[in-house]
Subunit: 184 residues, 2 copies
């Protein structure tokens, strides 16, 4: 079984008009993705943000739940938020994981912009020995096109069996479903 990490990217992502952008940290993204990551046995949850004050916000929220007053009030949350690792960039995350050759990066997108590997194939790959995998999720209107070229694989867009054509899941929902399809 391969090690799985998740990463929530706030830069580079797309703005509503398709231009490159930086999104703000959302409190419930910290909690929800951490809880999903903990449920599905992920090793860590990287929150990628280029602005130091936003990373500091993540640290303060996590501290409140891991050593602050809420750690005692709701102990289960501590186990989830302990996975959170704010970091500056994709590159700093890659360095923290031992360098680009030590890991695989798998992108996600609400619309397929290149060939994808199927969920059953991806699931089977995770059950074989291999490099740790980082599943990357974009905030705002999704990961900037520029980063996909450097990824090792891309997962398919999520939709119902009877496809409604609606492609606007929250990143909290998309991450949960992706982890369940791969590891559930």
């Amino acid at each position: 079984m391969r090690t799985v990490h998740i990463a929530l990217v706030h830069y580079p992502v797309l703005a509503r008009d398709g231009s490159p952008s930086t999104s703000a940290i959302t409190n419930l993204d910290i909690h929800d993705l951490a809880r999903s990551a903990r449920t599905y046995g992920c090793a860590s949850y990287f929150l990628i943000h280029p602005i130091a004050a936003q990373r500091e916000l993540v640290r303060k929220v996590c501290e409140h739940w891991t050593v602050g007053s809420s750690a005692e009030r709701i102990p289960s949350r501590k186990l989830a938020l302990a996975l959170c690792t704010p970091t500056e960039s994709l590159d700093s995350m890659i360095a923290a994981l031992g360098g680009r050759d030590a890991i695989e990066l798998w992108g996600t997108a609400a619309r397929a912009n290149r060939p994808v590997q199927s969920f059953p194939d991806a699931r089977a790959q995770l059950q074989q020995p291999g490099k740790p995998v980082v599943l990357l999720f974009g905030t705002a209107w999704g990961l900037a096109e520029s980063v996909f070229a450097s990824f090792d694989a891309q997962l398919p867009p999520l939709h119902a069996a009877a496809d409604t054509g609606f492609r606007h899941l929250s990143v909290r929902a998309a991450c949960a479903i992706t982890l369940d399809r791969l590891l559930g």
Copy 2:
């Protein structure tokens, strides 16, 4: 294919100490469950709250996104939030759907408190002709034990294949995963 509705219950739910309680409306619950419901083709999304001011809050949020300024700014969100139906109680929801004999109620819980139907069975049932199904999700520490006795079925707790024992998904994640397992 049977019609599927979802319902987010704010009363009766459990407080942290296991006592019956009423939880507050959470803005991102409105958005996230509506977006998941729309993605998976659900017919409606009931937000059950006994306090009129909280139902009014739901209506105002939805109005902002369906006919207010954000309806123009982010049109896709309109399609999701148009599914939101605030209602006073489980009984008022049941009445709106034609009465108890016209529908099936399927409960969800993070811990199984009675026999469950498997996800493959539940998925197969939804593909056969039959009554509309309402999937019920609890906020706070989950649906009060008292309501499960009146349900037609209960779905299994969600966890990874390699169960980590962690049972604290957000309701936003749990609803997304449940819809994907049943309809994805």
